[in-house]
C-alpha cells in the first residue's frame, strides 16, 4: 500500500508540472503577441520553456533587429469588442536523412468568451463552422489530427507536433455537459461532416477516457477525466478531401499567404503528412482575467528528397509546392518563414538563397535552435522578382543527428491466430538521467488482454510501474484502456509485454477485407524529458561559471508525446460464404438429437408383423369392396 501511495504522489507531481508548463506556455504566447502588437524592438524576457507544448518555435528576436511596424495597418482595428488576430508561419527544417520537414502553423485568436454561455453570431476571422460547434457542444478543448504515414523519430528527430497515423480526436468538454457520451457522439458526427473524414466510426468501442495522459493544454484547472474523450482511427486514410475543408477554415483560404503552397498533389506526394486543428482557450493578457479562443491549424509534411529530385540534393519552394510566395495573407498580423540553420552555422552543410539577415533563437524541444527568418509582411523579402522562392542546396551528404532522448516502438509477437503478445519498447537515450513516462494503450475488445501477463522489464530486471490504471474491455461495448507510469532508467530499453487472445467475431463484424487484419491504434507515451541543453556536459566551457553549477530549472525538462506504430493484427475468420450451410447443418444435428429422443420417448416396442405382399393387399381391397371376408 505504501508503494502505491508513493506512486500516486509521484504521478500527481508530474501532472501538476505538465499543467503548469502548459499554463506558462499560454502566458508566454500572450506576452509575445502583445509585444508583437506594440511592434517594439524587444528584448523579451520570456524564454519558451516548453516549446513542445506550444508546438511552435516561439521566436525570441535577437536584440538590435528592428521589427517592422506594419501589423496595425494590416489588421484593421475594429471598434467592436471582439478582436480577432491571425498569424501564419512556416518552419522548414532540413533533416539529416536528407529529407525536408515543413511545418505550417496558422493561428487565429478570438477574444470572446463562449464559456459564459452568451450567444455569438458575428464571426470575422474565426471560422463560423468551428465556432458554432464549440458553442453548441460546450467544448472546452478540441484536438483533431489526420495523419498519413508514420513519423520516424529515429531518422527525423522529434516533430513539432506529434500525431499518430490515421485520425486522432480528443476533446475536453465543459463541466456543464451532463450527457458527455451523447454529446461526444454528436460531435464526432458533426466533425465527420466538417472534415469529410470517417470520424462517424468513432463510437464507444474505440473511445476511452484516459486518466492521466491527456491533460487540457489551455487555461482551466479542471482535470476531471469524465469530461475527456479520446479516440483514434488508425485505419483512416488522409487525402485531398480532408485537406480542402481544412484549408477553408483559414481566413485567406488558399488564395494568399503561406496557404497558397498547400497544393494537394504535392503535399500527398510525401513521406509523411499530418494536418491538425487545435482549439483551446488561452489567456488574453498577462493577468489572465479574460480568456480568448485560439484556433491553431497545423500541417506538417516531410518531403522525400531522393525520390523527387533525381539524386540532386537541392530543395526549393517551387520544387516542393509548385508555387512561390508573392505576398502574405493580408489579414495576418504576422507571416513568417523560419529555416532551421542550427546545424549549419557557417553554411558548411547547406546553402540557403536568398540569404536573410534576420536570425532568431528559440528553445525547441529542449534544444537551442537558430532560425533564419523571412518576414513576408515586408516587401523587401520578395526582392526584385516580387516572389520568394527559397532554395536550399546541400553541400555535404554527411551529418549526424543527436539521437532523440525518448522514442518507442511496438510490435506483435507470436504466431497463429489464437494468442499473441504485444511488445512495446521504450528507449531512454539519456546517458545519465532516468525519467518517468506515461504509457497509454487503447486496445480493441477483440484482442482480449490478460493483464496478469503484463511484464515491464528494463535492463533485464523487473521494473514495476508505480501507477497502473486498467479498464478491461466489454465485448462490443468498450476497448481496453491501460495506462501506466514507468520510470525509464538512463540509457536503457524498457520492454512492456502483455498477452492477448484473438476473438472470433460474428461474420457481420468483420471489415470487408478481413484477412488484411485489424488495426490497433498507437500507444501514446507522454513524458517530461530532460532537456538536451541540460544534458550538455561541456556547458561550462561556453557559459559563465556562475550559471552552470546547478542545472537551469526552465531548461531542465520539456514535455514530449511519442506515438508508436499502429499494429495490424490478424483475427481468425469464419467462412463468409457459409451462413446458410452452417445454419442448415447445425440445425440438422439438433434435429437428429431431437428426433432420436422424440422417437424413443413417444413410441413403444412392438412385435413386427410382416407386411403382406402387394398382390395380397390389392386382393384385400377388392374383397373389402365386394364385402367378402379378407384373406
Amino acid at each position: 500500500m505504501a508503494g502505491r501511495r508513493c506512486s500516486f504522489s509521484a504521478i500527481l507531481r508530474v501532472f501538476c508540472y505538465v499543467s503548469w508548463l502548459a499554463f506558462i506556455v499560454a502566458e508566454s504566447q500572450e506576452t509575445k503577441l502583445n509585444v508583437d502588437r506594440r511592434a517594439a524592438a524587444v528584448d523579451s524576457p520570456h524564454t519558451d520553456t516548453a516549446g513542445r507544448v506550444s508546438e511552435q518555435p516561439a521566436a525570441e528576436e535577437t536584440p538590435g533587429q528592428q521589427e517592422p511596424a506594419a501589423q496595425d495597418t494590416v489588421v484593421p482595428s475594429s471598434a467592436t469588442s471582439f478582436k480577432d488576430d491571425f498569424q501564419e508561419e512556416l518552419v522548414i527544417r532540413p533533416l539529416h536523412s536528407g529529407d525536408i520537414y515543413a511545418s505550417f502553423q496558422f493561428r487565429t485568436l478570438w477574444e470572446t468568451d463562449f464559456m459564459s454561455g452568451n450567444k455569438v453570431s458575428h464571426y470575422r476571422l474565426y471560422p463560423k463552422s468551428l465556432g458554432q460547434v464549440i458553442s453548441k457542444f460546450s467544448v472546452r478543448e478540441l484536438h483533431i489530427s489526420f495523419t498519413q504515414g508514420y513519423w520516424r523519430t529515429m531518422q527525423w528527430g522529434q516533430p513539432f507536433l506529434p500525431s499518430p497515423p490515421g485520425a486522432e480526436l480528443w476533446v475536453w468538454f465543459q463541466d456543464s455537459v451532463t450527457d458527455v457520451d451523447g454529446t461526444w457522439k454528436e460531435l464526432t458526427n458533426v466533425l465527420s461532416g466538417i472534415f469529410c473524414a470517417s470520424l462517424n466510426f468513432i463510437d464507444s468501442t474505440n473511445t476511452v477516457q484516459p486518466s492521466a495522459s491527456f491533460k487540457p493544454l489551455g487555461i482551466g484547472n479542471d482535470t476531471d477525466h469524465r469530461f475527456l474523450r479520446y479516440a483514434t482511427l488508425p485505419r483512416e486514410i488522409v487525402c485531398t478531401e480532408n485537406l480542402t475543408p481544412w484549408k477553408k477554415l483559414l481566413p485567406c483560404g488558399s488564395k494568399a499567404g503561406l496557404a497558397v503552397l498547400l497544393k494537394s498533389e504535392k503535399l500527398f506526394h510525401s513521406s509523411f503528412h499530418s494536418q491538425a486543428v487545435h482549439i483551446r482557450p488561452v489567456c488574453q493578457d498577462w493577468e489572465c482575467k479574460t480568456s480568448s479562443w485560439e484556433l491553431r491549424q497545423t500541417l506538417n509534411v516531410v518531403f522525400d528528397l531522393h525520390t523527387s529530385s533525381q539524386g540532386k540534393r537541392e530543395w526549393s519552394l517551387f520544387k516542393m509546392f509548385s508555387r512561390t510566395l508573392t505576398e502574405a495573407c493580408p489579414l495576418a498580423s504576422s507571416s513568417k518563414i523560419y529555416i532551421d540553420v542550427t546545424d549549419n552555422p557557417e553554411g558548411e552543410q547547406f546553402e540557403v538563397t536568398p540569404a536573410t539577415p534576420l536570425l532568431s533563437k528559440a528553445v525547441v524541444l529542449g534544444d537551442r535552435r537558430t532560425f533564419s527568418v523571412y518576414d513576408l509582411t515586408q516587401q523587401i523579402t520578395f526582392g526584385t522578382m516580387r516572389s520568394l522562392n527559397l532554395l536550399i542546396r546541400w553541400k555535404t551528404s554527411e551529418g549526424d543527428m543527436l539521437r532523440p532522448l525518448l522514442h518507442a516502438e511496438r510490435y506483435v509477437a507470436g504466431y497463429g491466430l489464437q494468442t499473441g503478445e504485444i511488445h512495446t519498447l521504450m528507449y531512454n537515450n539519456h546517458p545519465y538521467r532516468s525519467f518517468p513516462v506515461l504509457l497509454l494503450d487503447s486496445v480493441p475488445w477483440y484482442l482480449r488482454l490478460y493483464i496478469h501477463t503484463l511484464t515491464v522489464t528494463s535492463k533485464g530486471k523487473d521494473n514495476t510501474p508505480s501507477y497502473i490504471h486498467y479498464q478491461p474491455s466489454k465485448d462490443r461495448v468498450r476497448p481496453h484502456l491501460l495506462e501506466m507510469l514507468v520510470q525509464l532508467p538512463p540509457n536503457s530499453v524498457t520492454e512492456v509485454t502483455v498477452q492477448f487472445e484473438r476473438a472470433l467475431l460474428k461474420w457481420t463484424e468483420y471489415t470487408p477485407d478481413p484477412n488484411h487484419g485489424f488495426y490497433v491504434g498507437s500507444s501514446v507515451i507522454s513524458s517530461l524529458v530532460p532537456s538536451i541543453v541540460a544534458m550538455d556536459i561541456n556547458s561550462t566551457q561556453e557559459r559563465p561559471l556562475f550559471s552552470s553549477f546547478f542545472p537551469c530549472k526552465e531548461e531542465s525538462s520539456y514535455f514530449v508525446r511519442v506515438y508508436t506504430e499502429p499494429l495490424l493484427v490478424n483475427l481468425p475468420t469464419p467462412d463468409f460464404s457459409m451462413p446458410y450451410n452452417v445454419i442448415c447443418l447445425t440445425c440438422t444435428v439438433v434435429a437428429v438429437g431431437y428426433g432420436s429422443l422424440y422417437n424413443l420417448l413417444t413410441r413403444s416396442f412392438q412385435i413386427e408383423e410382416p407386411s403382406p405382399g402387394l398382390a395380397k393387399r390389392l386382393a384385400n381391397i377388392i374383397r373389402k369392396m365386394r364385402g367378402v371376408p379378407l384373406l
Binding site: L417, S473, P572, P579, V582, V589, L597, L600, L601
Partner: protein
C-alpha cells in the same frame, strides 16, 4: 474394495502430477476443447489480478466465474494443482460410493422382483449377478479418473472439474437419500452453471421413490415433498446468491456469469454447436435461435422424467449427457462426467446397436480436433469449416451414443416385462420395432 480404489487414486494423482510438471501443461491449458471462456484457468488468474488492481473482475468481459470461485482461489491460488486433483478425487470417490449404493438397491429390487416371480422365465440371462456388479463402482471411478478427457481437463485446471465435483456430490447425497444435502449441492451446481437445474427432476423422483411417496399429482404428500425440496433448494440458492453479493458488494456478477452463459457473446471455438452457428447467424434471427438452442437443454427434462420415472439414476445420466451436448460452452470435462456412468449400464451392451461405430467416431474426432485446429489457426491451410465439421460429427456421435443407451435401456425394460425371446402369432421368431 478400498485397496483397489486407493491404488487407482494414487495412479490417477501420479499421472496428473507428472503432467503438471511436464511442458505439456501449458499446451493443454490453451486448448479450446479443454477450456472454455467460462472455465479457463487463465481467466481465473486474470480475475484475481483485476481484483488486486482494484478493478471489479466483472467490469470486463474476460472473467465469468462465480464470486465463490474467486473467493476459493483467493486462498488456494498457490495450491491450484492440488485443488484440482482433489476435486477429481472427490468426484471419483463420490461417484464410486453413489454407484455402490445404487447397485445395492438395484440388486435388492431385483431380488424382490425375482421372489415375486415378476420376470418372465426366459429373462434369466438378463438378471444381473452380484459377481458382475461387484467391480462396477471401481470401473466408474476408473472411467472418470483415467479418462483422457478428465486428465486433460484437470491438467488445464479447468474449473469444470470443480463443477463436476459438486454435481457428483449432489448425486451421492441424492442416492444416499439426504434431502437437504441434495438440495444444497444442486443449488450450488445451478449457481455454478445454470444447466444442472434440470437435475432436480431426477433428484425428486429418486428421493420420492426412496421415501415411498407416489408420484401422483392428486396426493398431498407428493406436493408436500415437492414444496419441501423446493424450499430447501431455493433457500440455499438464495443464500449462495446473497453471499456472493456480499463478497463483492455488487450484483455485477449476475449478467456477467449467467447473462454470458445464456446470451453466448463469446464465440471462441469449442466442441459445442453454438460458436459457429452464432458466428454465422443473421443478426435479426439471432435472438430467436438463441432461445431455441437454450430451450433445447431444458426441453427434454419433462418428457424424459415421464418416461423414466421409475429409473431416476438413468435419468440423471441422460440429463447430464443432454446438458453436455447442448450447453453453450461445453468442454471435454462435461463429457467425462456422463461417460463415467457408462460402466453402470454395462448390462445394456447386448442391446446397443451402433456402439462400435459411435466409439470409433468419438475417437477419430478427438484425434482430429487438434489436427484441424492446427491446420486452421497455425498452418492456415484449412479454414474454420474444417474444425466446425469435426464438432458437428463429434456431437452427432454423442447424440447417437446417448440415444443408443436410451434405446437399449428401454428395450431391456421391455424384455423384462414381456420376455426375451418373443414369438409372433404364428410361432416364428419375432423382431422388436418402435411404433
Amino acid at each position: 474394495m478400498a485397496a483397489p480404489l486407493t491404488l487407482l487414486l494414487i495412479v490417477a494423482v501420479t499421472i496428473r502430477a507428472a503432467l503438471y510438471r511436464s511442458s505439456l501443461a501449458d499446451l493443454i491449458s490453451e486448448r479450446v476443447e479443454v477450456v472454455s471462456p467460462l472455465t479457463a484457468w487463465k481467466r481465473v488468474v486474470e480475475g484475481l489480478a483485476l481484483l488486486d488492481l482494484g478493478v471489479s473482475p466483472y467490469s470486463g468481459d474476460v472473467f465469468h466465474e462465480t464470486p465463490l470461485i474467486i473467493y476459493l482461489f483467493h486462498f488456494v491460488v498457490d495450491y491450484a494443482e492440488i485443488t484440482f486433483m482433489l476435486a477429481d478425487v472427490i468426484t471419483a470417490v463420490a461417484l464410486y460410493m453413489a454407484v455402490m449404493d445404487y447397485n445395492k438397491q438395484v440388486f435388492r429390487k431385483q431380488k424382490f422382483a425375482l421372489e415375486a416371480d415378476r420376470y418372465p422365465h426366459d429373462c434369466l440371462e438378463l438378471i444381473r449377478t452380484p459377481k458382475e456388479m461387484y467391480y462396477i463402482p471401481l470401473k466408474v471411478a476408473m472411467f472418470y479418473l483415467l479418462n483422457p478427457f478428465t486428465i486433460l481437463s484437470c491438467v488445464a485446471k479447468s474449473t469444470c472439474g470443480l463443477n463436476n465435483a459438486v454435481i457428483s456430490l449432489f448425486i451421492l447425497s441424492t442416492i444416499k437419500g439426504n434431502v437437504l444435502l441434495s438440495a444444497v449441492f444442486l443449488s450450488l451446481a445451478t449457481y455454478q452453471s445454470i444447466y444442472p437445474l434440470t437435475l432436480c427432476a431426477p433428484a425428486l423422483l429418486y428421493l420420492m421413490q426412496r421415501q415411498y411417496i407416489p408420484v401422483n399429482f392428486r396426493r398431498a404428500s407428493f406436493w408436500w415433498f415437492m414444496a419441501q425440496y423446493g424450499f430447501m433448494y431455493l433457500g440455499s440458492l438464495s443464500v449462495i446468491v446473497c453471499l456472493s453479493f456480499f463478497l463483492l458488494g455488487s450484483w455485477d456478477y449476475l449478467p456477467s456469469v449467467y447473462g454470458f452463459i445464456l446470451s453466448v457473446p463469446d464465440l471462441t471455438p469449442n466442441i459445442g454447436l453454438f460458436w459457429y452457428f452464432f458466428a454465422e447467424m443473421f443478426e435479426h434471427f439471432r435472438l430467436f435461435f438463441l432461445c431455441v438452442f437454450q430451450i433445447n437443454v431444458f426441453f427434454y427434462t419433462i418428457p424424459l422424467s415421464v418416461k423414466l420415472k421409475e429409473h431416476p439414476v438413468f435419468l440423471i445420466f441422460m440429463q447430464l449427457a443432454v446438458i453436455s451436448i447442448f450447453k453453450s460452452y461445453p468442454t471435454v470435462g462435461d463429457i467425462a462426467l456422463y461417460m463415467a456412468f457408462l460402466p453402470v449400464w454395462s448390462h445394456l451392451h447386448r442391446f446397443l446397436r451402433n456402439i462400435f461405430l459411435v466409439s470409433c467416431v468419438l475417437l477419430a474426432c478427438s484425434a482430429l480436433f487438434p489436427v484441424l485446429w492446427h491446420l486452421w489457426i497455425y498452418a492456415g491451410s484449412a479454414n474454420s469449416n474444417f474444425y466446425y465439421a469435426i464438432t458437428l460429427l463429434f456431437n452427432v456421435a454423442q447424440i447417437l451414443l446417448v440415444s443408443d443407451y436410451f434405446y437399449a435401456f428401454l428395450r431391456r425394460e421391455h424384455h423384462l416385462t414381456y420376455g426375451l425371446y418373443l414369438k409372433r402369432k404364428d410361432g416364428s421368431e419375432a423382431t422388436l420395432v418402435l411404433k
